[in-house]
Subunit: 214 residues, 2 copies
Amino acid sequence: MRIAEPTVERLVQYIRYLERCREAGKRVISSQEIGDGLGIKASQVRKDLSYFGEIGKRGVGYNVEKLYGHLNTIFAPPKTWKIAMIGIGNLGEALLGYKAFESDKFRIVALFDIDPAKIGRKIHGIPCYDVEDMPQVLNDEGVEVLIITTPSSAAQDVVDKATESVPIKGILNFAPTTLVVPEHIILYNVDIFVELEKLLFYIKLKEMGGNIWG
Amino acid sequence: MRIAEPTVERLVQYIRYLERCREAGKRVISSQEIGDGLGIKASQVRKDLSYFGEIGKRGVGYNVEKLYGHLNTIFAPPKTWKIAMIGIGNLGEALLGYKAFESDKFRIVALFDIDPAKIGRKIHGIPCYDVEDMPQVLNDEGVEVLIITTPSSAAQDVVDKATESVPIKGILNFAPTTLVVPEHIILYNVDIFVELEKLLFYIKLKEMGGNIWG
DNA sequence: GCGTGTGAAAAGATTCACAGCC
DNA sequence: GGCTGTGAATCTTTTCACACGC
């Protein structure tokens, strides 16, 4: 089955929202309530959920526990993914200590940097290696997913180096640059710079009454 | 004029790419080259750029300097935006030291936290205030944009508190939760959790040969 | 010949509206 | 009566294909 990317994005939000409902002791929820809580139209919620069969009850709503479990099954990994993080600066370290990065879906098994002060040490309990040794370590550890937190200038290089010798499946890129990767690798970007620029652009556009040229 | 959101996202990337071409001494560039460098179709590049009038030369391409200047004008703010950051934990501090956050488009004028060890001090040269004093300080400083880097549990509360008493125009949210804000406020999310989940989901889907149920 | 600019076609995503079940 | 599930309609975004200027 094909599931559109915007749908997947919302499904993740539904899981997160249901988690909260569950903890709050809610047993049943309607598409309207979910939508209101996430700023999404009720009809959109229903369509998204309908892709996985009839999971709600007409006239009643969705059983919170059942829906939560259902969605979690969909997102359950076939195994614990092994991830490596490349570039352990401020941002990388902040992410390692970040609770949104704690999950039983994956384990960060290796860090890489060029700073001799970091190489050979453990950071947040994870060993940090020299970027030079990357292909070797990635292969030994069976890493399939990369998190890129290097400066922009280094990002494309390390990705090229890693992907040419290791069967990497996906990359999450935090470097504020656009990476070009082989077709078979799935790439997602968390681009702080772009998001901020978009925000400021639309604020400007609104102030200008829709006229870009001021 | 109306410019679609995906277009704005690409325009920001074009600026960044042209900056690099410019530094590399490139004078003229084609839509094909831009597209290849960013993983975008040439026809898409041309359509995006055509919204702003005929800026290229047929049979030749685009003048790098001219196109760069043109796009920069479009994104130039009417004034330097004043931004406040709320929640100065690992992620917030990392962002403050991050070079993608250095721009002449805005200035971060105030930080907020609940930690007494941080309140009253300067962090990266910016004064940190008590969250309790937020409405007051935001008004005094004329802040129009918020960056939310609090834990998820606090994010909606601080946003509600800030937006009810101050004319906030936009919010960039890093908390891994979905915020609901008044209609007139522009909200962008940088949701690490969602991006990672999407990536892992699509890797799984590929491994399963497109069959979610494994 | 080469590469832009652009209307028209295709593809993709959201919203509507209502039948069907509780 | 209330709320889901879903085909059909609408709206949005991308891609095509070719006329036009260098």
